[in-house]
């Protein structure tokens, strides 16, 4: 299971800290979900959402550390279309 306490990362920025906050909430939700009662479908769904969030944030934070150690590559950046 992922640690409840976010792993300190070098050169954290306010943005990465905001992501760590979301990750902490998801980790807490994942930890608490099984304790809230019998394995009801909504509990399992909440835990699945939490797991998805943790995965997304962990990937983004890994990207952050890699980007800090690499030369600037503007081809990696692009505009993003809104979700419809």
């Amino acid at each position: 299971m992922d640690s409840l306490i976010p792993t300190p990362t070098p050169n954290e920025s306010p943005l990465s800290e905001a992501l760590l906050l979301i990750q902490s909430s998801a980790q807490l939700a994942a930890l608490v979900a099984p304790l809230t009662g019998p394995a009801a479908p909504e509990v399992a769904a909440g835990a699945a959402v939490a797991a998805a969030v943790i995965g997304i944030i962990q990937h983004a934070l890994t990207v952050h550390q890699q980007a800090l150690g690499m030369p600037l590559d503007l081809s990696q950046l692009h505009q993003i279309a809104p979700v419809v």
Binding site: A67, H78, I80, P82
Partner: protein
């Protein structure tokens, strides 16, 4: 094949798998505590935000409630990304670079607002909400 040979083969396979995993994970990362330039930090923040946004976009069906907040994050990201690219084209106007930390801070605030929607989704998933 006797049991001892099988165990030895299994252990060898595990050692190789662990070694390959360690090699695959060896990617350049920042040295802890090493100061980075403003440009590098902004670039890292934008790439990070992009990765997070695309992650949430890909799984929007899992948390549909965050769509409005996610679109605000996308709008804020697009502004900052365009401003950063404009600055990088010539690097002639420091005022353009000076605006970017504020834009990144706005992006951070928008990302923080996503946490509220996610919190509701994790404790009251769509299946349980009427």
């Amino acid at each position: 094949m006797n049991l001892r040979v099988r165990i030895r083969a299994l252990l060898t396979a595990i050692v190789i798998a662990v070694a390959l995993t360690a090699c695959a994970k060896h990617t350049p990362t920042a040295t802890p505590g090493t100061p980075v330039s403003t440009e590098q930090q902004i670039y890292a923040d934008l790439v990070t935000a992009q990765a997070a946004i695309e992650g949430f976009r890909d799984k929007i069906g899992t948390f549909p409630k965050i769509k409005p907040q996610l679109n605000e994050v996308i709008a804020s990201y697009n502004l900052a990304e365009a401003a950063f690219e404009d600055y990088e084209k010539t690097k002639s106007n420091p005022a353009e670079l000076a605006k970017l930390p504020g834009m990144i801070n706005d992006l951070k605030l928008k990302i923080t607002s996503v946490e509220t929607g996610l919190g509701q989704t994790m404790t009251q998933p769509a299946a349980a909400v009427h």
